[in-house]
């Protein structure tokens, strides 16, 4: 009885984890720029991997195998966030700018004139503020 329940929970965790992992990989292919791709793939690397390891933990029971699995998921979670942060920082320093939605809804790359703005100014610049437009000399059709 308990074994069947554990098996069912394990099934759910493994299938959901695999699903989230595939969703993250699909997002990696369909997102428009490197930052959104990081965002998409982090779903698979945290939730997907976490659920997969949870499913395996339920099958392992309280053994040394379970301890190793816990160690693997802990290291995965820590290194995943650190590596993603380092990647995003390196991309920004290298001059890769986020692709944002223009006023007419199309996706546009931040151009060189706007690249000098600090990151905090990017989001407010998307509002309809005439000052920001004057500063950067940008004119959207």
């Amino acid at each position: 009885m308990i074994e069947a329940a554990v098996d069912a929970l394990s099934w759910i965790a493994l299938v959901a984890g695999g699903l989230f992992y595939v969703v993250g990989a699909v997002g990696l292919n369909r997102m428009p720029d490197v930052f959104t791709r990081m965002h998409a793939v982090s779903v698979g690397d945290t939730l997907g991997a976490g659920l997969l390891v949870t499913g395996m933990l339920l099958q392992a029971g309280p053994t040394l195998v379970a301890a190793k699995l816990v160690l693997i998921i802990l290291v995965l979670l820590f290194t995943g966030s650190v590596a993603t942060h380092a990647l995003a920082r390196a991309a920004l320093q290298d001059g890769v700018r986020p692709v944002v939605a223009g006023r007419d809804g199309t996706l546009v790359q931040r151009d060189a004139a706007e690249a000098v703005l600090p990151l905090s100014a990017i989001a407010p610049a998307e509002q309809t503020s005439p000052e920001a437009e004057k500063e950067t000399g940008r004119s959207n059709p």
Binding site: D7, V22, V34, V41, G48, A60, V65, V75, A86, L92
Partner: protein, 97 residues
């Protein structure tokens, strides 16, 4: 049976990540994809250990997860400085993004 399903899902996701690694316009796209492939390799090793009933594969997975982080940082440092031996400089570390 459940491990077969999860293994197939991880394999599909890894092949999709390889597609992005081959297509990706910038080197950072390729790195994101490579990182994802590394995570997938760890999960695949763990699942394969359960699939074959040999938990020794978990130790290999544990090694891979550490290698993955070191590899990502090595490649990042290489593309940032052009060399792996660069110590990094002061103003760069204090620069606020």
């Amino acid at each position: 049976m459940m491990f077969q399903v999860a293994t197939v899902a991880v394999l599909i996701a890894m092949s999709l990540a390889v597609v992005r690694a081959l297509r990706g316009p910038t080197v950072f796209d390729r790195l994101v994809a490579a990182n994802s492939v590394g995570t997938g390799a760890v999960l695949l090793l763990s699942l394969f250990g359960f699939l074959t009933g040999r938990p020794e594969f978990l130790d290999i997975g544990l090694t891979y997860v550490l290698l993955n982080l070191i590899g990502t940082f090595a490649v990042l440092k290489f593309f940032r400085h052009g060399a792996l031996g660069h110590p990094g400089d002061e103003d760069e570390r204090t620069k606020v993004l």
